[in-house]
Point group: C2
């Protein structure tokens, strides 16, 4: 059986394509990305010339036009825009906040959460009730909550190694906090920023009022982690302190926007689609370099690196730059809806939306047989220190494409620094390292190359080919 | 044989110690580091209160005193200083450099290389001859080199995934360039900085004149990568341009300094030593946060984390903060010499000297049987994304301790950003991430825990235990 296993591995991994082994092709892809990548230059423009790209904004439209024009320069078979209506929320004036006691006054750093209403003109000023999680608000009841600002002070758990787990554990505080506090008569919510660091940056992000009537909604803001600690400490000394905040954000009518799509049409199986993508919109505080400028430019470079490496795909390879991941997911839903209508068979879809840090591997939503197939390719990635191949999780924009027989996946970069920058004004270009970004693009391209070459074509399960 | 293998693995990995499995102990170590680590605070002080710590400097002495005092607070069994004479080289005034043609003048960023002599008063001004490597100087000969400045313009290879390989491929240019150029009558050397980035920072580092007599020595400096590109381009247009540089560095008499050593004495095998360390000296341009402040504070925290995690070592655990790794290795040689005199049996020595970035694993200098032992522990590290266990390479300070039967190793953090900062003025505290630093300390502590528990105790080779 050892010989059979060897032959199988040789057949699947060592097969020559145009005289090159998969090892050679993957090496060419990485070398090309590191010596002749475009992702960093594109990101420079998206971040520094355009900047933050919130759905419905002028910058989002500029990003649509820029990336379309850049894709058109690559000599793809098709480049087009897919129209989609997106929510348009605007932050307005810079938020102001402080807390005061009879003998002290302290300014703090806040930012409105995406989707929040404004405070009344002149701001909101009230006493504060602190909770560790929005789930504790119910037990406090109207008696303790009514007329107050609810301060939800839940730190990310530092002992979780994967910071996305720590974030996932706290993201409902931001998303649901205001709706829950409003039920008991609160006049506002202040949520501790979902950051891995102690610093002065407030981190925005989406929140929802659920089915709460318009007149019952209350303004909600994030406070920096340093100021959350400060406020909590001040409350211990002065439970009656007053907190003031003012924000002028506003929700407008939905606006017309676009997914940007480019395609290399497959030479043998044009209706088998392999998709790579990221989301073009970003929050407005920084320039969205990590979230998700990095994923956008890496995905664009996947198609370019295939061409530069002399690979002519058998299947259709699409780059999709999704609009509105941050506060609506409208682009992803539209893309999936149209793909379904047209009967496009997406065999594999890969998103990069976890920052432009050193890639460590991939997470997959896939059935067992399909997952076993990809495990067979793992040795090809070892020279590039790509070691993480795990089931569970892909990306918000590609998840709507999942079926029982295809594979959707997410690039998994090192996560330690991601939530230092996520949704904050320090998500900026200078925090992206060129080599790390390029390694991510190469890692994505290599997996796309393998899916193009072999298709989603389950092997016998490893237990059946092991001796 | 499967059952025997299972039992062996169970015996070695699953054994209970004080009721806790190794998995539990390792989890405790990581959690303690991430929730209650000291490494980041220590690094803040070393970097921001003390700063760059070149051998023989006042700052190096301050670092000796500070780390000794901090180790004394930990309740170790012994803390002491080991005297060692170190070279004392001083940079002097900030270097100046420019190049000029008949119609242009351009200032460039340089820094003297460690060990270089000064330029004559008023600086050195001469025509430039560019080479891709110092090995090409011989072929040019005196005719083309005499009276000129040799510009060695060799970039790090971007396609090498491990940046240490790229650095290793170029470091002789910096170390030997001046000695070689001087043989053919050059009046100075300008070496392209050994950096992975294009930017304006010159990177220093050690150089040597070998056995060149004093009167034949020529000044040598590094130039930033951006300015190397600029100079090379200008030379194509104006081969006769003049380059000017001035530096006032000086070598003084050797100075008295110290290795800083702390020990938890083993309860069962006190003469079996396990060493963790980094080097306390750094170059002078930045504050030495990555090189090697990070290794210093991680090593200090290893002993503290063992204590905090309730582990009472059977073997003696030593932290050694070596002096003078950068330009002499005198501390490491002294430590090894004294250890040998005293017959101290160092079974395992681990250095952290590759930056405070996310840890990826370890590299080992070890015989095959000892390496196979450590491979058996690899699964314990998987939850922490530690995947790299390879033969080859340890650390400059621990290498002198290597024997045929012991293990010396190096922590291997992600290498992508290391040479952006290495030996340059941007090797500073704000470029170290707290979580990444703490994960490194926990990774080191976990391996030390395993070596303390099991000793260097080779398993049968895998071929003999495999079915």
């Amino acid at each position: 059986m050892r010989i059979l296993k060897f032959l199988l591995v040789f057949f699947l991994i060592g097969t020559y394509s145009h005289g090159q082994s998969d090892e050679d092709v993957v090496r060419t892809i990485y070398s090309t990305s590191l010596t002749n990548g475009k992702s960093y230059d594109w990101l420079d423009y998206l971040s520094n010339t355009i900047g933050g790209r919130l759905s419905g904004s002028t910058n989002a439209q500029l990003a649509v036009e820029y990336t379309k024009a850049e894709l058109e320069k690559l000599g793809l078979d098709k480049v087009w825009l897919q129209p989609v209506m997106v929510p348009k929320w605007v932050r307005g004036e810079k938020e102001q906040a402080y807390f005061q006691t009879s003998n002290s006054f302290e300014r703090v750093n806040i930012c409105a959460l995406g989707g929040s209403i404004a405070t009344p003109t002149g701001g909101t000023k009230a006493q504060v009730i602190e909770v560790g999680t929005y789930k504790n608000i119910e037990a406090l009841g109207e008696e303790k909550v009514k007329g107050k600002i609810v301060f939800i002070n839940r730190p990310l758990q530092p002992e979780l190694i994967n910071t996305f787990e720590a974030y996932g554990g706290c993201s409902s505080e931001r998303y649901r906090g205001a709706a829950e506090a409003a039920k008991y008569g609160a006049v506002g919510t202040i949520v501790r920023s979902l950051s891995s660091r102690q610093d002065d940056y407030p981190h925005t992000g989406s929140m929802s009022y659920g089915d709460l009537p318009l007149e019952d909604r209350i303004p909600s803001a994030a406070i920096s982690t340093n100021d959350a600690v400060k406020l909590s400490s001040a409350l211990k000394q002065s439970p009656d302190l007053l907190f003031y905040f003012e924000q002028s954000c506003e929700q407008f009518e939905d606006a017309l926007s676009y997914n940007v799509i480019g395609e290399i049409t497959g030479s043998e199986y044009p209706n088998e689609y392999i998709l790579v993508g990221g989301h073009l919109d970003s929050w407005d505080l920084g320039d969205g370099a990590h979230d998700d400028g990095a994923g956008v430019v890496q995905s664009m470079d996947v198609l370019r690196l295939l061409k530069e490496s002399g690979i002519k795909p058998k299947r259709s390879i699409r780059v999709v730059l999704f609009m509105n991941e941050e506060n609506g997911l409208r682009g992803a839903r539209k893309y999936a809806e149209v793909a379904k209508e047209k009967g496009e068979n997406h065999i594999f879809a890969l998103e990069s939306d976890a920052g432009g840090f050193t890639p460590r591997g991939f997470s997959f939503n896939a059935n067992e047989a399909n997952f076993n197939q990809v495990l067979n390719w793992k040795p090809l990635f070892k020279p590039y220190f790509i070691h993480y191949f795990e089931i569970g999780g892909s990306g918000a924009d590609v998840r709507p494409l999942q079926t029982e027989s295809n594979v959707v996946a997410g690039l998994r970069p090192d996560s330690q620094r991601y939530f230092d920058h996520h949704h904050a004004s320090n998500d900026t270009f200078e925090h992206v390292n060129k080599r790390e970004l390029e390694l991510g693009a190469a890692t994505m391209t290599s997996l796309v190359y393998l899916y193009d070459k072999y298709g989603v074509n389950p092997l016998p399960e490893p237990s059946k080919i092991k001796d």
